[in-house]
Symmetry: C2
Subunit: 715 residues, 2 copies
């Protein structure tokens, strides 16, 4: 496929040797990035699937048209979903017997690329295949697959995934909708008992859905018994007459109306007034009701059953992680391409203005985010592999499922927040041009906004990760008693003066006396970064675990109070863990790069990522005696040096994302700015050459001072 790198002149690769002489002396001539090779590494295991998907997504029929009304946008996206169904190879995850390919990894890899066409299309497709049809597949049984899946897969039945309610989003276990079994008619009565129990924010609910998978509290009574609430189960419920589009009797709804983004999706609310569905429309893989009302389940613990049912949702989080990383790539392609062409202010010369990316602050705004985007891409590849292990059945154990859920819960917040941050930094780095819709950044940001709170609110997911970290920690110590743990923690983390980890060596070697260059050299070592990042996670988890110990013995109120008191610390643990996951993935990714020059540049980028995490948490390292003050200073100055080294490779590093102009679709990333700059410079050059340039009114300001004064100033 054609990528940006084929079409545009090289930016800064040879004509912007921004490395200073000192850098060059230290490190030899600046290496070159082998862009096609790096492309292949970043595309990863599903490179072919991704390339095919990107080729397909060049089709203008799939692209967002800006400025459509909400109604027009919704209609267009529905049409696009139908095109996807027939031409887009979107059924790979479904059983071969039903026309799929049982290819879970390829399916998600493809799906993640759809975000480049229109995030609304990605999410509408996700609702149809990833949630609605997928619930039938994973929560239903053979009979459901045969009866219900084909129409869901073909979009003959557009479907809603009716789980969230106005009153309950993150806490699914507490939803209010009930499904009460009536043995007399062998039906379930689906009912919304109060306003807060309306299903809400559902794609396909406002307009297009003719059926839904509805989650409700299953209430049934065995013969002669009192009714029991067996917890949340899923039911297949018709919503609309496909011919007329009218809601069926007992079903009412509301349109969620305009949203901050994703307006190509018809999100809406649904309310059920004693709606009856036949007994066999319970998706009964994990819980069934016999004609007489007797409840049975292959999973005896209601808690475990609930988590098992919900665990099929993990693919949503996995794919959002991938889509968010891809969106960050687009943002950086746009901002870095523009920053390599746009000029503003002449600092060093009378006539030549400075290219934006030559400004240190501009590098600070964009390059660490580029580093994190690479980290996110490598980490996502690992997540996808874990996902395939579980969903293909190759490695489907309780433990691997839990691992998968924890990694997804750690990475989805990291990458979705990063995408929002990167889109905004890119938009501001492009100034007023960044605010124009034609340059793509603002719409992408608007659409991606909700990625931070749907499919698991990021803050809630982080707590899930923290709880897993705590659980692992207590498992590690299950054979020693509480006072033993306390002693361990105290010896390890409670007092910096007593700190005795392998890191001590590094800290001491690099105490304030050490020279800066050598100190930076050690920060660059993979093992040093690993120890610093790992140690932080472990120490913080141990501290919180110790603080939470009394919760195991005290009252429920006391436990809740203690937990709340440490909620922020728990979230910080999870964040540190996510950082470490991304860093480890990036580090492992370096091994895949055979070309020495490319690997060297990518290692600098990895170092920027690792050291940026350390810089962000520098106070923690200082307070806990892991870094001396002198060492801590080095972190920032070494990042600055790395940014200077990376600057000439910035364009290569975004070109290696392998998106073409048909994916980027931003007016300022087409070379237009370079043309404008060249024209303007030619104009002045000609004026000077011909003597037509009017003399400037004589300035009384001295040149040296002026150089400083004329560097970026708003006036």
């Amino acid at each position: 496929m054609t990528t940006l790198s084929d079409k545009r002149p090289s930016h800064g690769r040879t004509d912007h040797p921004a490395t200073s002489r000192a850098e060059r002396t230290d490190h030899g001539p600046t290496p070159r990035v082998d862009v096609p090779l790096l492309e292949q590494v970043v595309l990863g295991r599903w490179a072919d699937v991704r390339r095919e998907a990107r080729e397909f997504l060049k089709d203008p029929r799939m692209h967002r048209i800006e400025g459509l009304s909400m109604a027009e946008h919704r209609a267009r996206v529905l049409e696009q979903v139908k095109i996807l169904a027939t031409e887009g190879d979107v059924l790979r995850a479904f059983p071969t017997a039903l026309g799929g390919a049982d290819d879970h990894g390829g399916s998600l890899a493809r799906f993640e690329e759809v975000v480049t066409a229109d995030p609304s299309l990605q999410i509408k497709a996700g609702v149809q295949w990833g949630l609605f049809a997928s619930a039938i597949l994973h929560l239903g049984t053979q009979e459901h697959h045969e009866r219900l899946l084909p129409a869901a897969m073909s979009v003959d039945v557009p479907g809603a995934f009716a789980m969230t309610e106005t009153g309950h989003g993150s806490d699914v276990a507490s939803i209010g909708t009930t499904a009460t079994y009536d043995a007399a008619t062998q039906e379930f009565v689906i009912h919304t008992p109060f306003r807060a129990a309306w299903k809400d924010y559902l794609g396909n609910a406002a307009l297009h859905g003719t059926a839904a998978v509805v989650f409700a509290q299953l209430i049934t009574a065995g013969p002669g018994e009192e009714p029991v609430n067996h917890g949340v189960h899923a039911f297949y419920v018709p919503l609309r007459d496909p011919a007329t589009g009218e809601l069926l009797p007992g079903v009412s709804g509301e349109d969620d109306g305009l949203k901050g983004g994703l307006n190509g999706i018809d999100n809406g609310r649904l309310c059920f007034d004693q709606v009856r569905v036949p007994r066999h429309d319970l998706l009964n893989r994990y819980g069934d009701v016999a004609p007489d009302g007797t409840y049975t389940s292959p999973i005896t613990s209601p808690g475990r059953r609930f988590f098992t049912m919900l665990s099929t949702l993990v693919q949503g989080r996995v794919s959002l992680d991938g889509a968010a990383v891809n969106t960050s790539k687009l943002a950086l392609i746009i901002a870095i391409t523009y920053a390599n062409e746009r000029r503003q202010f002449s600092a060093a010369s009378e006539t030549d203005e400075v290219v934006l990316l030559d400004y240190a602050e501009h590098q600070r705004r964009l390059l660490p985010r580029l580093a994190q985007t690479y980290a996110g891409a490598f980490a996502h590849e690992r997540l996808l592999e874990a996902f395939v292990g579980v969903f293909s059945g190759a490695d489907d154990t309780d433990e691997s499922r839990q691992d998968l859920e924890t990694i997804a819960a750690a990475l989805k917040p990291a990458s979705t927040w990063h995408a929002l941050d990167t889109l905004q930094a890119a938009r501001e780095a492009c100034g007023g041009a960044g605010f124009l819709t034609e340059n793509r950044l603002v719409s992408l940001r608007a659409d991606l906004d909700v990625y931070a709170t749907f499919e698991g609110d990021n803050t809630v997911l982080m707590q899930l990760v923290a709880k897993r970290l705590l659980a692992d920690y207590s498992k590690e110590f299950k054979d020693i008693d509480a006072s033993g743990v306390a002693r361990y923690v105290a010896g390890r983390a409670a007092d910096a003066a007593l700190h005795r980890t392998p890191l001590l060596r590094v800290v001491q070697t690099l105490a304030d006396g050490g020279n800066r260059r050598r100190s930076a050299g050690q920060l660059r070592e993979t093992e040093t970064q690993r120890e610093l990042l790992t140690d932080r996670v472990e120490t913080m988890v141990a501290e919180v675990a110790t603080a939470l110990r009394p919760a195991m013995k005290g009252s429920r109120e006391e436990a809740a109070r203690l937990f709340n008191e440490h909620q922020h610390a728990l979230i910080e643990c999870a964040r540190a863990h996510a950082d470490l996951l991304q860093w480890e993935a990036f580090t492992a990714g370096l091994e895949k790069v055979g070309d020495p020059g490319t690997r060297r540049v990518l290692t600098w980028l990895r170092d920027v990522f690792g050291l940026s995490i350390i810089e962000r948490n520098l106070a923690w390292y200082l307070i806990n005696g892991r870094l001396s003050a002198g060492r801590a200073r080095t972190v920032t100055s070494y990042i600055d040096r790395l940014l200077v080294r990376l600057r000439p490779h910035a364009q290569d590093l975004v070109d290696a994302f392998a998106y073409g102009p048909e994916h980027v679709r931003a007016a300022i990333a087409t070379g237009a700015e370079r043309e404008r700059q060249d024209e303007a410079r030619a104009h002045y050059r000609k004026q000077r050459a011909t003597g037509e340039e009017p003399r400037k009114e004589k300035s009384s300001v001295k040149p040296a001072v002026k150089a400083v004064r004329q560097a970026p100033s708003p006036a």
Copy 2:
């Protein structure tokens, strides 16, 4: 006027005594906030004007209607601007002789409130009166005022402010448009020499503007002389035939089209092909051309002349600062009201779910931002007073003008970035509901986005501030030689071990041995916070100044290189300075609060603001020996304690912003969520009372562990 506090039941004031027992023992009964009194303090010197403006802005004719097409929105905003002209008392800043009131402060205070109706309306009004008419007023002379101002003031002539070009935004001095004087016809020839010199992003340019103030390089030749470029000057240029709306001969244009927000404004591009305007349409207050082409100016230095002309633009920055603070207020009213009503997860009890704002992390997300919003409000009041001093002529000296510009350049970035951050935090804190347009946050964020880069790009403004800090610093030391400065800096800041400021006392007293409560007590002291914040600014400025010294002697290239190397440090200086400005304003604001309970709560809020700044820069304080590790730990734990104390007052603190439901207009901030929660809880209460509640399937999970497990979890 009616404010939210009159209409809604009290939130958390008495029924959520979230202060722990320990807090209560330490500090006596929790104080009460006198909301009407605090309202008056926050409304400040222009309270009456603000109240009047808010009353007027309740009018639904002035409100944004969501979901309009771009064309409809533009048309509506134009109509609203015309209503403002006749009914909105928007001419206060203009001369009394022309129907104004010479009231610069009241005018801006009113204008800042317009953002609550629709940011597009605020900015369209800003273009008309704050830029277009204001340029005629400040850059023109008597004849221009009489001939051109009345139609600009009445919007009979909607006007564009044609300064920015596609190729030059921040660097106005380098714009490409030329105005060449032709003595033969006594006309200026306005010309766009190349594509990058098109005027761009101009409100009123795409559709409505019939004239513009155009900035161009003034080129003229005195009799028998060579042409000289006298730099940027402003010209009054007709654009369109008012009758037909057609562009006049020689003028061409483009529509900027859709933007990330502010789509009620018709931004566009303009190109001039040898367009002739009469000599007297040069706005000639600061530079004039005689019929024979001779140039004269009351300001001999071209640099100073340029900055003087542009300094009239400062009012835009002042008013954006105010509007951004007001928008943060709206965001927090919405998020905190919702967080006081919304419940999710039952941690401490079997039946009662927890109100969001009782979660420690939710407090961390919202309350420090509330603190910064108060700081921003107090700081803005001071900025407005400085503005009035200069623009009323009461304190119009070179120095006061420079101070005004520096304060505006520091505060506008702080408040506009803060508004974006707060809107996003509020939107995420409201979950999916926050993403619905009916809840206002997403549209406000989309509109406010560009506030960070227009009227002075924030990053560029910060450099302006830094340069002023450097200039002041070098002035301070002008009488000692360079080595003296170096010695001073070294003794003061270069080595923590040599550090000898008054702070040393505080640091030593609070070394690791000290007890936590006492340590926190000292952090709470106003003088401690002031010293910590001031010392950081001074030390960082001294360090950068020393590092930049060689720039004064070296070549232009060398100076530019050095400056660039320290660009990030310079911006950090400016940020630290802005923090200090806001903190000082907040601290001074406390003095205006007579009621002891209110003052106490507000002091906690000020402490959260001050300590959050210190927490954000904790690594700096540690590296530079200003805080010991033990002390640094206290900063975070003390913030946590303050948040618990503040939590019961959160609603009062946003109610005191004195916005009514007509300004807030968010469905989730109307009490609707409380009604839904009450209904749901009543439903379950009744079920339990009547024995209708189905028994839950027996759980095998032990209660204490469950309390922890059930605290926020995504499943």
